[in-house]
C-alpha cells in the first residue's frame, strides 16, 4: 500500500472502502466482537465459510464489531445488492444452511431476520448512503426497520458509530466512513489552538468517569513546560459489567487512533500510548493491526500526510489491576513499575508519564474527537443537555431484558434506558435499583427513575457516570449483599498503598459479611457510615476515595434493608442465606414431587399429592426447590 499524502489519495482509499462496505455482490457479515464470539459467532463464521465454499458461491464473508444488542447475538448481517441489509439474530452453525438458502433464493421465508436496515449512516460525512434502491420488497415489509426496534429507537451512535457497521480489519472501510478526513482537515487547515478551541466549544467531557472538560485538559497540557509531551489513551476498563471501551477498541480501533493523532497535534506531542488491559486480547490485536495499517498509510510515524508532523503510538498492556485505570497508576504501570497511584496535587498534564506533561483521555473520549472535528463543535454541543454535550455509551446488564451496549444522548431519562431501550425487567419482577459508575458508583432507587442521565445529575444523586456500566437490579436483589459484592471487589483490587483503602475497605467487608451472615451488631451501620467518611476523606487516589460509595449510596436509599438485617435478622429480598428459611406452602403445594427429586441434600419429604415438608436441619438454602416449583409453593422468609 502506498502512503497517503493528499486528499486525492484519501479519496481513493475511501472509494475502495465504500466498495467493500456496500459491494456490488452479496456480503455476509458476522458480529465478531468479544460479545459475539462469547455467544458462538466463531462457529457461525466457520460454518458460513464452509457452506459458501461447498456451494461455490460468490459471497463476501466479513467480520464486524458489536452493534450493541448482545442478547440476540450471534448476529449475521446479509447485504445483497440494492436490498435492505438484514440482521439475523441468535444464529447457530445449524441455522447457516437455511440462511444461505434464503440468500440464494433471494427470499426470506422461515428464518426471519430481527430487523432490517435500508440505509447506512455516515456520521462524519453527514450523509446516509442507501442499501435499498427502490421500494421495500414485499417479503421484507414485515421485518421492522432498525429505527423501529425499541432497543435502537432512542439511541444515537457517535463514539460507536462504526461498531457493527464496518469490517474492523479494514482501514479502507474506516476511511470510507469519513475516517482520517478529520485528521487531514486538522493537520492542513487548522492550527493547534483552533483544534483546542473547537474541542472546548464542543463541551466534550472526559468519558472515563471524571467528566473533566477534555479541551481544557488539552490546553493545559499544551501550555505546560517541556519539549516532550505524551498523549495517552486509557483502555484499562475494569468495572464489572462494563465493556464500552472494549467494544470500540475491537470494533473501530481507528477512531481512537485518529482522535489521538489529532489530539497529539493540538497538544504538541510526538509520542502516544494506548494502555489496554491484557484481558482484552481481541482489542489488543485489533488495535495492533490498525496501528500497523495506519503506519503503512503514513498516518502514523514521520511526516504524517506529508505535513511534516511526526507522531507514533505504542500499546502498553496492563496486567489486570483495576487500579491501573486510575491515571497516575496507569502512568506508573506504563513506566514499567507496579501500578500504584500517587497524589495528584501536581497534575499529570504538567508532570505525568516519566515526569513529562501527559494528556490522558479514555477510549470513548478519543473516539468522539474525529466526529467533532469533521462536524464541528456546534453540531456536537447541540446533542445532549446543558453542560453535558454529546452522547454516552452504557453497558446495560443485570436484571434487564435487553442486555447490551447502548449509546444515548446525554440527559436521557433513566426510565427510557431501563424500560424502552432495555425493555424492562425480566419475569415480571419489580425494578429495584440501578448501579451506575462501576464499583465506585452508587445505586439509584426507583424514586430516581426519572433522573436525567448526565454527569452532574448522577453526581448529585450520590452516584456517578463512571465509565458507563449500568447494572440493573430487581426486587430479588439484596442491597446489603450488593454493597458487600462491590466492597469485596474493591478489597481485592485495592493496590494497598494507603491505609484507609487497604485496611478500611477490608474491615468494611468484614462488617458487611457479618451483617449478611446474621451476625450484625447494633452500631454496625453507624460504624460503616463513619468509616466511609474517613475513607472518602483519607484515601490517596480516586479509587480509594470512592470505595465507600457502594455502602454510602445503599445506606442512603436502602437503609431499611440494613436495619432488617442487623436488628430483625431478616433479609427482605430473600438472598442472604443465614437470614432466610425455605418452607412449603400448604395451600399451593400439589405434592407433585419435583422439588423432592431436585433437592441436592434430600431434605424434602412428602407423599404424592400431599404437601411436602423441608427438613430445616438439612436444608442448605440453595434455592433449587423454589426454582423448580411450577406452583410457586416454596416460601422464602
Amino acid at each position: 500500500m502506498s502512503k497517503i499524502n493528499t486528499l486525492e489519495d484519501l479519496n481513493k482509499a475511501a472509494k475502495r472502502g465504500l466498495e467493500s462496505i456496500i459491494p456490488s455482490k452479496t456480503k455476509v457479515m458476522v458480529g465478531m466482537a468479544t460479545s459475539g464470539i462469547a455467544s458462538g459467532a466463531q462457529e457461525v463464521y466457520n460454518a458460513l465459510a464452509e457452506e459458501i465454499k461447498k456451494r461455490k458461491l460468490d459471497i463476501i464473508l466479513s467480520k464486524t464489531g458489536a452493534m450493541g444488542m448482545d442478547c440476540i447475538e450471534p448476529l449475521v448481517d446479509v447485504l445483497q445488492p440494492n436490498k435492505p441489509r438484514l440482521a439475523y439474530s441468535k444464529v447457530t452453525a445449524k441455522k447457516v444452511p437455511e440462511i444461505i438458502d434464503q440468500i440464494v433464493k433471494g427470499a426470506v421465508n422461515g428464518n426471519k431476520p430481527a430487523y432490517r436496515m435500508d440505509e447506512e449512516e455516515f456520521i462524519c460525512l453527514n450523509e446516509n448512503k442507501p442499501y435499498l434502491k427502490g421500494p421495500v420488497p414485499k417479503d421484507l415489509e414485515g421485518i421492522p426497520k432498525i429505527g423501529d426496534v425499541s432497543f435502537y429507537k432512542k439511541q444515537m451512535k457517535l463514539a460507536t458509530r462504526n461498531c457493527g457497521m464496518i469490517n474492523y480489519e479494514s482501514i479502507d472501510e474506516y476511511i470510507a466512513k469519513g475516517g482520517y478526513f478529520s485528521l487531514l482537515k486538522a493537520l492542513t487547515k487548522m492550527q493547534p489552538d483552533e483544534i483546542i478551541d473547537e474541542v472546548i466549544a464542543s463541551g466534550l467531557r472526559g468519558r472515563g468517569g471524571g467528566g473533566f472538560q477534555a479541551g481544557i485538559k488539552w490546553q493545559t497540557c499544551r501550555r505546560a513546560h517541556g519539549d516532550i509531551k505524551y498523549v495517552i489513551c486509557n483502555g484499562d476498563e475494569g468495572d464489572p459489567g462494563a465493556y464500552m471501551d472494549r467494544s470500540v477498541m475491537e470494533g473501530d480501533p481507528h477512531s481512537v487512533i485518529e482522535g489521538m493523532i489529532i489530539g497529539a497535534y493540538a497538544i504538541g506531542s510526538s509520542q502516544g500510548f494506548i494502555y489496554v488491559r491484557n484481558e482484552y486480547p481481541l482489542a489488543v490485536a485489533n488495535l495492533q493491526r490498525a496501528l500497523d495499517q495506519a503506519r503503512e498509510y503514513g498516518l502514523l510515524g514521520k511526516n504524517i500526510l506529508n505535513t511534516g508532523f511526526d507522531f507514533d503510538l505504542k500499546i502498553g498492556k496492563g496486567a489486570g489491576a483495576f487500579v491501573c485505570g486510575e491515571s497516575t497508576a496507569l502512568m506508573t504501570s506504563l513506566e514499567g513499575k507496579a501500578g500504584e497511584p500517587r497524589a495528584k496535587y501536581i497534575h499529570t498534564v504538567e508532570h505525568g508519564l516519566w515526569d513529562r506533561p501527559s494528556n490522558l483521555n479514555n477510549v470513548e473520549t478519543w473516539a468522539n474527537v474525529p466526529a467533532i472535528i469533521s462536524r464541528g463543535a456546534k453540531w456536537f454541543s447541540s446533542i445532549g443537555c446543558k453542560n453535558n454535550s454529546g452522547t454516552k455509551v452504557f453497558c446495560l446488564v443485570g436484571k434487564i431484558n435487553n442486555i447490551g451496549m447502548v449509546e444515548v444522548p446525554m440527559g436521557i431519562p433513566l426510565k427510557e434506558i431501563i424500560y424502552e431501550i432495555g425493555g424492562g425487567i425480566p419475569g415480571g419482577k419489580k425494578y429495584k435499583a440501578v448501579q451506575t459508575g462501576g464499583p465506585s458508583g452508587g445505586c439509584l432507587p426507583d424514586s430516581l427513575i426519572d433522573i436525567s442521565v448526565d454527569f452532574d445529575s448522577l453526581w448529585d444523586a450520590g452516584s456517578m457516570m463512571g465509565s458507563g456500566g449500568m447494572i440493573v437490579m430487581d426486587e430479588t436483589t439484596c442491597m446489603v449483599d450488593i454493597a458487600r459484592y462491590f466492597i469485596d471487589f474493591l478489597e481485592f483490587e485495592s493496590c494497598g498503598k494507603c491505609v484507609p483503602c487497604r485496611e478500611g475497605v477490608y474491615r468494611m467487608n468484614e462488617i458487611l459479611n457479618d451483617i449478611c451472615d446474621g451476625k450484625g451488631k447494633a452500631g454496625d451501620v453507624e460504624l460503616l457510615e463513619s468509616m466511609s467518611q474517613g475513607i472518602v476523606d483519607g484515601a490517596l487516589c480516586a479509587l480509594g476515595s470512592t470505595a465507600a460509595n457502594p455502602v454510602l449510596s445503599t445506606l442512603k436509599y436502602f437503609r431499611d434493608e440494613y436495619v432488617a438485617h442487623v436488628r430483625d435478622k431478616k433479609c427482605p429480598a430473600g438472598v442472604c442465606k443465614a437470614l432466610i428459611r425455605f418452607s412449603v406452602s400448604d395451600e399451593k403445594c400439589t405434592g407433585c414431587g419435583v422439588c423432592l427429586k431436585k433437592c441436592p441434600t434430600e431434605c424434602i419429604s412428602g407423599e404424592k399429592k400431599k404437601t411436602h415438608v423441608i427438613d430445616q436441619t438439612k436444608c442448605i438454602k440453595c434455592g433449587v426447590c423454589k426454582e423448580s416449583c411450577k406452583f410457586d409453593a416454596i416460601i422464602v422468609e
Binding site: 481485592f492 494497598g496 468484614e510 476523606d537 483519607g538
Partner: protein
C-alpha cells in the same frame, strides 16, 4: 516565598515546600508514620492529613505531599481531619495489635482501638509505610527488598520471599522502620537480617566489629575506594 495561614497563624515558606515541613517548623504537631527526612514522601499512611482551603474549595490533603501556596488556609485539627486520623490509627492497631509504638501513638492522640475490628495475627508489626523499601532503593541503592502483592496482602520482602541475595546487611531498613517490625539480630562478629547471616568486619585499628563485610564491598564497588581504606571504623578514622 509564599505566605499562608496555618491553624490561624500567618506563616511564610519557600515555594516548593510541603505543608508538613512548614507546620513542623512552626511547632505544629502532625503525626506521621511513613515520613522520614532521608526519603521522598509517599503519602501512604495518611496520618498527616490536614484540611486546606484554597479559593472556595476545602478539602482534605496529605500534608507531606501538598505543596504550599499563596493564600491557602490550613487547619490541622478539624473534626474531619481527626476522624481520618482516628480511623487510620484504629485500622493499623487492628492490623498490628502487638505494636507498642502504635499503642503509644494512639494513647497520645487519645484514640482507643475499635472493638469491631478483629485483630490480624499474620502481619507482625509492619504498617506498610514503605520507608524500608525506599531507604534500600533510594538511599542505599541496593534494592534488596521491595513490595509484592496488593491490598491487605501486600508484603515487604526480598524477591519471591526467598533469602535475599542482594542484601548487604547494612540494616538501614531496620533503623528506619517506625514500628520495629524488621528484626536484625547482631552479635559481635555476625549480623542476621532478611534470612541471611553477614560476617562483620573488625576495625583494622581498634579491632571492634563495625560493619558487614558485604556492605563495605558494596561501597568499595560503588565508589572505587579500596577495601583496605574502608576497613577502619568511624571512631578510628
Amino acid at each position: 516565598m509564599v505566605s499562608f495561614i496555618i491553624d490561624g497563624k500567618k506563616v511564610e515558606a519557600e515555594a516548593g515546600a510541603n505543608v508538613l515541613q512548614v507546620a513542623r517548623k512552626y511547632g505544629i504537631v502532625i503525626p506521621t508514620l511513613c515520613c522520614h527526612e532521608s526519603v521522598a514522601p509517599s503519602g501512604a499512611c495518611r496520618l498527616c492529613v490536614v484540611e486546606v482551603k484554597k479559593g472556595k474549595r476545602t478539602r482534605i490533603v496529605t500534608s507531606c505531599l501538598y505543596p504550599v501556596d499563596e493564600g491557602i488556609v490550613v487547619e490541622t485539627k478539624t473534626d474531619r481531619v481527626l476522624n481520618v486520623r482516628r480511623l487510620v490509627m484504629q485500622l493499623l492497631m487492628a492490623r498490628c495489635p502487638e505494636s507498642e509504638v502504635l499503642k503509644d501513638m494512639a494513647k497520645e492522640m487519645g484514640i482507643e482501638p475499635q472493638p469491631a475490628f478483629h485483630p490480624d495475627t499474620d502481619k507482625g508489626k509492619c504498617v506498610l509505610c514503605r520507608l524500608c523499601v525506599k531507604a534500600c532503593e533510594d538511599v542505599v541503592g541496593a534494592s534488596a527488598i521491595g513490595l509484592s502483592g496488593r491490598g491487605k496482602n501486600k508484603k515487604v520482602g526480598a524477591p519471591f520471599m526467598e533469602d535475599s541475595k542482594t542484601c548487604i546487611g547494612c540494616g538501614a531498613c531496620a533503623y528506619i522502620c517506625p514500628t520495629e517490625h524488621i528484626i536484625m539480630e547482631s552479635t559481635d562478629s555476625k549480623r542476621k537480617i532478611w534470612g541471611r547471616t553477614f560476617k562483620m568486619q573488625p576495625c583494622d585499628k581498634c579491632g571492634r566489629y563495625f560493619a558487614p563485610v558485604d556492605q563495605l564491598k558494596f561501597i568499595s564497588d560503588k565508589t572505587g575506594t579500596p577495601m583496605t581504606e574502608l576497613a577502619v571504623c568511624m571512631s578510628c578514622k
